[in-house]
């Protein structure tokens, strides 16, 4: 097969923008997008809120500069300031570009793109389309890619980079429809596979497939992971599915109640009560559960988000989507009974270490979106900045790879190498000696992460977490794939996803254990304050001989000096 100039792994916002931009930059290039789901299924579609850009449509005095400051402050000063600069100054252009291509943004009275306030932002600068912003952006990008004739390999599961020396020769992937393992020889590869927060499994709001495939592929190829310990939690996920009950429910006057019938937020935020900042509310719920004031159920401990006192009329008129969601996913009508909730992992700040041009340390390999860590979110991402991140850096990745593809010799993956990958892939997993159930391992991984590497972290907990992960990795060696068919073997795919999560879980736990301070989403009970002297830096996790090796990287500063983060 003819080698590709660019192979893009992932068909979400970052991957699709990259494909489009690469074709725009150089239409003669041979570009392919691989995605394990049809691109329009990607998790970008789940982002409801919107994307930040200082358009000044709503607040005339909004500026890019203010957006930059809000982002840096929100990151607890761990974001690289030159990267944030880039993110925020590109924002207006990218939002307008999407608009020009057909994204159906909601509109202001003067017919410009509508904007609304969002947490942590000094001005209302979040551009949105009702509560389906990510969905409509993804649709637009997919449509434009179809228009441009982008070549898609849908339902291909990426397995590994083919590496020779310091550079990649392309990608190995499994065609789900046939089970065939295929080689994609390429000059450049862009990894854009999304986040890794699904490793918390039932304690995560993420799609089932947000298993960090791109990061794991890069990690196994020797590329460092940056700031993996930073995982954002949302205070009110549904008990069974982890899906988010958005802040609107508390905004309209919902109470958080423990098993003693107390509005426990009085203990943690006397004035703001249920409307305190997201991380504080998450920690409060977790404390209630840890101190035994949660409700018990087979699906785990939880608390109540009670809306019943608001009355049927208000719930129906103001919170119809939340009500529908509770009924569909939890079987609970919030008019009649309280909603069972608990904190849930929903975003991963860490990822593949890249520079501002999305380059990784490996020649010809780029990464963008939640998959990467530039870093623009630092220790804590602001709402409305995740969609922006995938768009801006997806675009940059496409442009950079298109410009640089000519620099690299085309890779050539040999038949022999492909065979090795096939062997490694299926070797033994169907054998009778393999008895470990992947569902169980996955569940246990989620449990130990939530308990020991979750919202509250502490040396002894982390130690246990690291041990658990090591044991799970050991048990994984005897994991069983009982579906032996080639066609659409989702059993095999889920086992391979679990392998990716196990590899990355190690880096999350290692980073959390090393970072002896509390910053942004990372809270150490034993080190409750931010320690700029020791820890104002990124962690880098690299795999060497199957073990995590931790390194570090300085934070790029700029106009803004370190300050205490208070709101």
């Amino acid at each position: 097969m003819k080698p590709y100039d660019i192979v893009i792994v992932g068909g979400g916002g970052a991957g699709l923008y990259a494909a489009m931009e690469a074709m725009k930059t150089n239409p003669s290039l041979n570009i392919a997008v691989l995605s394990k789901v049809y691109p329009n299924r990607s998790h970008t579609s789940a982002a409801q809120g919107g994307a930040n850009a200082a358009l000044g449509n709503k607040a005339k005095d909004d500026t890019v500069e203010m957006h930059i400051f809000d982002t840096i402050k929100g990151s607890d000063y761990l974001a690289d300031q030159d990267a944030v600069d880039l993110l925020c100054s590109e924002a207006p252009k990218i939002i307008r570009e999407l608009e020009n291509m057909g994204t159906p943004w909601s509109r202001m009275e003067d017919n410009t793109i509508a904007q609304r306030p969002f947490g942590g932002a000094g001005r209302p600068r979040c551009c949105y389309c009702s509560d389906k912003t990510g969905h409509t952006i993804l649709q637009t990008l997919y449509e434009q890619c179809l228009k441009k004739g982008v070549i898609f390999f849908n339902e291909y599961f990426a397995l590994n980079l083919s590496v020779k020396g310091s550079r990649s020769r392309g990608l190995i992937a499994m065609n789900m429809k046939t089970g065939n393992v295929e080689a994609f020889s390429a000059r450049t590869v862009i990894l854009a596979t999304g986040g890794y927060a699904k490793m918390y499994w039932n304690r995560s709001s993420n799609a089932a497939g947000n298993t960090g495939d791109g990061q794991a592929i890069a990690y196994r190829a020797g590329i460092p992971m940056k700031d993996m310990e930073f995982v954002q939690f949302h205070p009110t996920g549904l008990r069974k599915s982890g899906l988010l009950v958005t802040e609107g429910a508390r905004g309209e006057g919902g109470y958080l109640i423990n098993r003693n019938g107390e509005r426990f937020m009085a203990r943690y935020a006397k004035e703001k009560m249920e409307l305190g900042p997201r991380d504080l509310v998450s920690r409060s719920l977790e404390t209630e559960i840890l101190e035994g004031r949660g409700f018990d159920s087979p699906a785990g401990k939880y608390l109540h988000l009670d809306l019943t006192h608001l009355g049927a009329d208000l719930i129906k008129s103001r919170l119809p989507q939340i009500r529908e969601m509770c009924m569909q996913f939890e079987g609970v009508d919030p008019i009649d009974e309280p909603i069972p909730v608990r904190p849930t992992a929903h975003y991963s700040m860490g990822g593949i270490d890249t520079d501002n041009f999305t380059r990784t340390i490996m020649e010809g390999v780029y990464a963008a979106g939640e998959c990467a860590c530039v870093s623009v979110h630092g220790a804590n991402r602001l709402g409305g900045n995740s969609l922006l991140d995938i768009l801006v850096f997806g675009r940059i990745a496409g442009h950079t790879a298109a410009e640089e593809a000519g620099k690299f010799e085309p890779g050539n993956i040999s038949e022999a190498e492909l065979k090795e990958h096939v062997e490694e892939l299926r070797g033994g997993m169907h054998a009778s000696g393999h008895h470990e159930r992947y569902g169980e391992l996955r569940e246990e991984l989620g449990q130990t992460l939530a308990l020991n590497v979750g919202i509250f972290r502490e040396a002894s907990l982390l130690k246990r977490g690291i041990q658990d992960i090591a044991e799970l990795k050991d048990r994984f060696k005897k994991v069983r794939v009982s579906d032996s068919s080639d066609v659409f073997n989702t059993n095999l795919m889920q086992v391979l996803e679990l392998k990716n999560m196990l590899d990355l879980a190690e880096t999350v736990a290692a980073g959390a254990s090393a970072r002896e301070e509390s910053r942004g989403s990372h809270t150490r009970i034993d080190f409750p304050v931010r320690d700029d002297a020791k820890w104002h830096k990124h962690t880098l996790a690299t795999q060497a001989k199957g073990k995590v090796v931790l390194g570090e990287k300085p934070v790029t500063m700029g106009r803004y000096e370190l300050q205490e983060r208070t709101y």
Partner: protein
């Protein structure tokens, strides 16, 4: 505030999932496997399938991704009705099951089967491409990113609901015409086409419409409303289909198709007689040659059975037709004014 309770008490029910199975590598034809599991209240069909896959039979194959009703992966037929497994509560389905305690789970219809509950979505993507289901912007690519189009809230509302579509293909699965001919454009693609056509930023309305009015296009829809009824996002898909037809006839004058002639015959008959002249509809829709070739034997039989009056057709005008005609024409004047002001 509710009284404190220690435990959320929830009963469970034993539910048998009767799952469609087919592995093209070994099976010559599909069959069903039964799996009985206890299901507590609040559990969705998808969670049950996950449970069965993890605990009983890992070889059951189905797609699932976001599990939150937004990605559209898990479209399947539950007790015969196409829907998302992730937004469907088991107990709700059970209450309506014809066979007590049994829930039948099958793949979507009208798309090629790959394995178990998985169907091939490529035909749908191919149709999206064929009917240019994208905005081809009036703005040249080189000028993009500099300034916004100004779009009124009224225009946004025209396509707002249509952009809810998650391409789950429930409508595709339920469509009566697709069942009869897989070449048919499909409800979802008509919906998307409509969404593009009412967007003022798009430059290729005409080209898209020209394709839509051809064979297997918008005129083949039989108004059965199954698409709309099954839409998991409650999108009024038929309004979109009608919108395309209205656009084709009224604004772009694409009247040279059998579908539009058929539709317009209603308008002229009503104006003239207040009644539809059914007997001559075939001729006016498809011309005399087609009618003679296709319907003559049947027409003779029908006339023999006195099902339709012998030609020339005698349809009595409705009573008071004169004043009716005046009113009808007055409305025609209103419509003309509307179009004038729209063009401005």
């Amino acid at each position: 505030m509710t009284a404190p309770t220690d435990q959320h008490i929830e009963g469970t029910k034993d539910v048998t999932f009767r799952i469609f199975r087919f592995n093209p590598q070994v099976d010559s034809k599909p069959y069903f496997d039964d799996y009985t599991i206890p299901v507590e209240r609040g559990v969705t069909v998808l969670r049950s399938l996950n449970y069965i896959k993890e605990h009983i039979d890992a070889s059951i194959s189905f797609r699932a991704f976001c599990q939150a009703g937004i990605c559209g992966s898990c479209g399947m037929r539950v007790n015969g009705l196409s829907q998302l497994a992730c937004t469907t509560q088991v107990w709700d389905v059970l209450a309506k099951s014809r066979e007590s305690g049994i829930i039948k789970v099958e793949p979507l219809r009208n798309l090629p089967l790959i394995k178990d509950l998985i169907v091939d979505m490529d035909p749908l993507v191919d149709k999206m491409k064929h009917y240019s289901n994208w905005i081809d912007s009036t703005m040249p690519e080189s000028s993009m990113g500099k300034k916004e189009f100004l779009i009124s809230e009224a225009e946004f509302l025209r396509y707002d609901k249509a952009t809810d579509c998650i391409l789950c293909a429930s409508c595709v699965s339920e469509c009566s015409i697709l069942r009869a001919n897989k070449e048919y454009v499909s409800p979802a693609v008509l919906l998307k086409s409509y969404r593009m056509n009412v967007d003022s930023r798009d430059a290729i309305h005409g080209k898209r419409l020209a394709e839509l009015v051809k064979d297997h296009g918008v005129w083949d829809c039989t108004h059965c409303y199954r698409c709309q009824e099954s839409c998991v996002k409650s999108i009024p898909i038929m309004d979109a289909i009608h919108g395309i037809r209205e656009d084709a006839i009224e604004l772009r004058g694409m009247k040279d198709t059998s579908g539009s002639k058929h539709a317009e015959a209603f308008m002229s008959d009503i104006e003239k007689k207040g009644k539809l002249v059914e007997a001559t509809l075939p001729i006016r829709t498809n011309g005399i040659v087609w009618t003679l070739q296709n319907l003559l034997p049947m027409a003779v039989k029908m006339i023999m059975k006195r099902r339709t009056p012998p030609p020339p057709p005698l349809v009595k005008s409705a009573k008071g037709i004169k004043i009716f005609r005046e009113m009808f024409r007055e409305m025609t004047e209103h419509v003309r004014q509307d179009h004038k002001s729209q063009k401005k």
